[in-house]
């Protein structure tokens, strides 16, 4: 049974104790940030680009009903068969229906966080279908039965050595750490999967409203094969992934790839315009587009969090986040980790289960600073904190503590009295190192005692009055 609350503190302690994880994360994430920064610095109008993108995306989201209808209409005219899914379950049902109808047995999949969100792979295997992840990282995660720990770099928590070991154990190849050899080994298995698969499934990075086209961004070419080689193609797309037109694509592509991997553009960008038409040599016979809501409409209706729907899933906020850098993605027990996940998980999935997450941030604001579409992530975290407190999702003593604090801080005499009492009686809490014993602090760090006389007590307060 699912516990009622994810204890994030326990998760962080586990991650911190995992030395290998610490080394892998520190190494990979500082590289990701470095690459991004170098590229951003080479783009003088980066800030204006962010402004423009935020403006465009927010405008689309503000009229999402209309924009979605327009997009759907165009996509249908391109020959996509559209299916609407209110939640994860109906999305899975639609997909299995399609696969059953086409008597599909094997599916090749390209990386998609939405299919992770709806837990598609597990469902497909329950229905006797074989689903093969074809993104190298996802493939390694799949064969080692792990969940992706990052939204764009699924196995960022693993080292080259880990990958070598996994591929040695699972594929029976000779142990090697050479990326070239490992890629070649995966390629061998995956190539035959592409050729024999009956259907391909991919996520969607952008839907172009004016064209009804889908855009898929990747580096390995596996997505393009998944969506063009098998006779049946299913695109799974969140209803918020729209941008107005082809003219906006270069802006969003740049923002996405620079933020995600520090690339000016990814190796492959596929723009999909429906199934193969008569006279065309390549492409699937049938193309389906499954449009998934799964809680997004609720976000849309809450103006406080609506901007979260503008997220383009680049992962920059994960890479820069001091907390994510220490704990890694698995600690969040959600498909969406890091700052964006701390907001999305409670809002999309369960406020109760994920209620620790919005509080697990230092509010340093690094996430907001790197977000390519300027989502005020740390502001949303604050909003969500206040929200969760309103619905009594915090320990009772914490609220009482802040009530008392507010009472004192709005009554200066009381405030000074409390400070006086604090400094006078703190000896009761002295620890052996000369500091104070403060729960949840002094186990890790020395806690500096209060000054014998606070600034105000010396200047105006009790002690001075006593001296008179």
């Amino acid at each position: 049974m699912m516990p009622t609350r994810l204890n994030f503190r326990t998760q962080t302690v586990q991650s911190l104790a995992d030395e290998k994880l610490q080394a892998n994360l520190a190494h990979s994430l500082s590289q990701s940030c470095q690459k991004r920064r170098v590229m951003v610095e080479s783009l003088p109008d980066w800030e204006q680009m962010r402004d423009r993108a935020a403006h465009i995306k927010n405008a689309v989201i503000a009229n999402l009903d209309r924009e979605l209808a327009a997009f759907a209409d165009k996509a249908e005219r391109k020959g996509f068969e559209l299916l609407w899914a209110r939640d994860a379950r109906s999305a899975r049902d639609h997909i299995v229906d399609i696969l059953t109808r086409h008597k599909v047995r094997t599916v090749v999949k390209s990386k998609s966080m939405l299919t992770e969100e709806i837990e598609l792979n597990q469902f497909l295997s329950e229905h006797g279908l074989i689903s093969i992840e074809t993104d190298l990282g996802e493939y390694i995660a799949q064969i080692s039965r792990q969940r992706p720990s990052h939204i764009t770099a699924p196995i960022i928590h693993l080292s080259r050595r880990d990958v070598g070991r996994i591929m040695h154990e699972k594929l029976g190849i000779q142990y090697t750490e050479s990326p070239e050899e490992l890629t070649a080994a995966a390629r061998k298995t995956l190539r035959s999967a592409f050729l024999s698969a009956d259907a391909g499934i991919s996520g969607v990075n952008f839907g172009l409203i004016d064209e009804g086209s889908l855009v898929v961004v990747e580096n390995e070419g596996n997505a393009r094969l998944s969506l063009s080689l098998p006779p049946v193609y299913i695109a799974v797309m969140g209803i918020e992934r729209l941008i107005p037109s082809m003219a906006d694509l270069s802006l969003f592509l740049t923002l996405l790839t620079v933020s995600a991997t520090g690339q000016r553009i990814s190796n492959y960008v596929s723009i999909i315009n429906g199934p193969r038409r008569t006279g065309e040599n390549d492409g699937p016979d049938k193309a389906y587009l499954v449009l998934v809501d799964n809680g997004r409409t609720d976000l849309l209706h809450d103006s406080r969090y609506r901007s979260m729907l503008t997220c383009i899933r680049c992962g920059a906020c994960l890479n820069i986040c001091p907390v994510y850098r220490k704990v890694g993605g698995h600690a969040y027990a959600s498909v969406y980790p890091g700052p964006m996940g701390m907001i999305l998980s409670p809002l999309l999935f369960s406020r109760e289960y994920y209620r620790d997450l919005p509080f697990a941030s230092t509010l340093c604001g690094a996430c907001s600073e790197v977000c390519p579409v300027k989502i005020p992530l740390n502001q949303l975290l604050l909003e969500l904190r206040a929200d969760l407190i309103q619905s009594r999702q915090r320990p009772w003593w914490e609220h009482q503590l802040f009530r008392l604090f507010a009472l004192c801080a709005s009554h200066p005499r009381l405030y000074r009295l409390m400070a006086y009492l604090g400094s006078s009686f703190q000896f009761l809490f002295r620890s052996s190192d000369g500091g104070l014993n403060v729960p949840r602090w002094s186990d890790q760090r020395y806690f500096q005692p209060l000054a014998r006389s606070s600034f105000h007590s010396l200047k105006h307060g009790l002690r001075r009055r006593k001296n008179r």
């Binding site: 230092t362 009530r403 200047k459 105006h460």
Partner: protein, 250 residues
């Protein structure tokens, strides 16, 4: 440019109770460069601890008190990027009435973080001194990202004779791990982030870590001390005070 000769000092609660000397140092320094400093008696806290923990109702109560105390002051200076940003950038999200909002708008333009104030006054040219030590400037998050204090503090430091500033790689614009109540709820994580800052300083032979916030200091000094390090976290005001060879005004 800031013209008023009278400056009101806001002493944030962490400074007041843990590092009162920082307030003394700000006071002495502002006096030394020609300002008349006052300390409104009824001041307490800006409300940030409650606000960041999500208790907006409680924060509003404290914020109302803050406004009442400082409303009449022509210019307010505080040695904390975090508290100043709280008042300037977060009060708008409190349960204020429209009247309170307009009072806040007038107040926020008169409030300055200590280094921000020095950066905007010509009197700061009088700051001269020597600090022959190797110093790492830790850009405190709220000052850096919410007040945009990117180069100012380091520029002030580099005016001092003999000072050696540890090269600021952009990757070190990273949180020290304090984060208010975060540092208690997630003490292991906070301490681990603090240790990273320590390691960075050790690798670069820094003798001091300069910050703009007592919160960073409390957390960093606690981490450093537990690990037996002699590197001293120090507030920018204290460093300037020592470098200028000032004496207490109080």
């Amino acid at each position: 440019m800031i013209s008023p000769d009278n400056v009101a000092l806001f002493v944030p609660c962490l400074v007041d109770h843990f590092y009162p000397e920082i307030a003394d140092h700000v006071w002495a320094l502002l006096t030394a460069i020609g300002y008349k400093v006052s300390v409104p008696k009824e001041q307490t806290c800006c409300g940030q601890p409650a606000y960041n923990a999500g208790y907006r109702h409680e924060a509003t109560r404290i914020a109302r008190h803050f406004m009442k105390v400082f409303e009449e002051c022509a210019c307010i200076v505080a040695p904390s990027g975090s508290c100043v940003s709280m008042v300037k950038n977060q009060y708008q999200y409190l349960d204020f009435t429209s009247d309170e909002i307009s009072r806040w708008q007038s107040l926020r333009s008169r409030l300055f973080e200590f280094s921000q104030f020095l950066g905007q006054t010509s009197a700061a040219q009088q700051i001269e001194g020597s600090f022959p030590h190797r110093v790492y400037y830790h850009a405190s998050c709220h000052g850096l990202r919410e007040l945009g204090l990117r180069t100012g503090p380091a520029a002030l430091l580099s005016k001092l004779e003999g000072i050696e500033l540890v090269d600021q790689t952009p990757s070190r614009e990273q949180c020290c791990g304090f984060g208010g109540i975060f540092s208690m709820h997630y003490s292991e994580l906070a301490a681990s982030l603090g240790s990273d800052t320590l390691q960075y300083c050790v690798e670069r032979d820094a003798e001091y870590v300069v910050t703009l916030d007592a919160g960073c200091m409390l957390h960093l000094s606690g981490t450093f001390k537990r690990q037996g390090s002699t590197i001293e976290p120090i507030h920018l005001a204290t460093l300037l005070y020592r470098a200028m060879g000032l004496t207490p005004t109080r």
